[in-house]
């Protein structure tokens, strides 16, 4: 165990800004990317449904 307290953990020996800036950016972007990819698929699906419905109408 490297840390005596939570405050010590977040301080990262004075490098907190750099360490959390790195891990935070990774976490944030790796959260956003799947959401965007999922939305792209949902958009494709809803467009498809519209097209199929339009074709069925007489």
């Amino acid at each position: 165990m490297n840390w005596g307290s939570a405050a010590e953990f977040f301080a990262m020996g004075g490098h907190g800004f750099y360490v959390w800036g790195s891990f935070g950016a990774c976490a944030l972007l790796m959260l956003i990317e799947p959401i965007l990819a999922g939305r792209r698929r949902n958009r494709a699906l809803s467009e498809l449904k519209r097209e199929v419905a339009a074709r069925k109408e007489p």
């Binding site: 490297n2 490098h15 800004f17 750099y18 360490v19 990774c26 990317e33 958009r43 494709a44 699906l45």
Partner: protein
């Protein structure tokens, strides 16, 4: 005997790969989470403080995986692009297109975490050194690939143009990899190499490898989601797409 051999070409059709990809995605998410939790635990609680760099070195646990993936995804992307160019298979081009944004993200994260590591250790966010510059070029190659493909309306022609760009850009990958050997750079040498034992503590190495696996599984999962979106976009006039349950409902 012959019918026991899996016909791999069957999976090269979007129709068969679409449902298969859908089944694979949750597994890759699960693996990414598993490796990620183990990797983060080692990164922060098991790996010791570095004698020279203190706690700041912990950036290595995201910096190296992001950098590895940025190069690896490019190679995989170029592989699919070449396959599509050579055999004119539909799915290959879609694979390449699905990988590009994830590769760009990894290259960006590599540069971002590198800047945040460089500032406390070297005293600067950025230097025009061989390793950093070639990684920046990689980032621009991804962006160029995406921009070129979105500028061409016809998907098959976009695939071909993108494939040529991707293949020309492959030359940059060995340049990134060997840049720390070929030139005098501020960037430190390779921490892990195939030819000699790693220059770091065992636990640090394990943390890095687990995080790299997590990034890898993440990249596959998100690329497969995007691939499914691309398949739906491009195959929307095909009969099989209309027969899908998610479209019918």
């Amino acid at each position: 005997m012959s019918n026991r051999i899996i016909n791999w070409f069957r999976f090269s059709s979007p129709q068969t790969f679409y449902p298969l990809a859908g089944k694979m995605i949750p597994w890759f998410w699960a693996l990414a989470a598993l490796f990620g939790i183990a990797g983060l635990y080692i990164s922060f609680f098991v790996a010791p403080t570095d004698a020279q760099q203190g706690e700041g070195y912990r950036i290595i646990f995201v910096h190296v995986p992001a950098s590895w993936m940025s190069m690896f995804i490019y190679l995989v992307m170029a592989f699919w692009a070449a396959l599509g160019l050579g055999f004119n298979t539909r799915l290959s081009g879609m694979m390449a297109s699905a990988l590009a944004p994830t590769g760009a993200l990894m290259a960006f994260l590599s540069l971002w975490t590198g800047a945040l590591w460089g500032k406390p250790m070297w005293g600067t966010w950025w230097v025009w050194d061989a390793r950093l510059t070639s990684e920046l070029i990689l980032f621009f190659l991804y962006l160029g690939f995406i921009a070129l493909q979105s500028a061409i309306d016809d998907a098959r022609r976009a695939d071909k143009a993108g494939a040529v760009l991707a293949l020309v850009g492959v030359v940059n990958i060995p340049i990134i990899y060997f840049s720390v050997k070929w030139w005098n750079t501020l960037h430190q040498g390779a921490s892990v190499s195939l030819t000699r034992s790693p220059s770091m503590a065992q636990t640090m190495l394990w943390g890095m490898l687990l995080m790299a696996l997590a990034f890898w599984m993440y990249a596959i999962a998100v690329a497969l989601i995007r691939l499914r979106a691309i398949i739906l976009e491009r195959e929307r006039h095909a009969g099989w797409v209309e027969a899908l349950n998610e479209v019918k409902s």
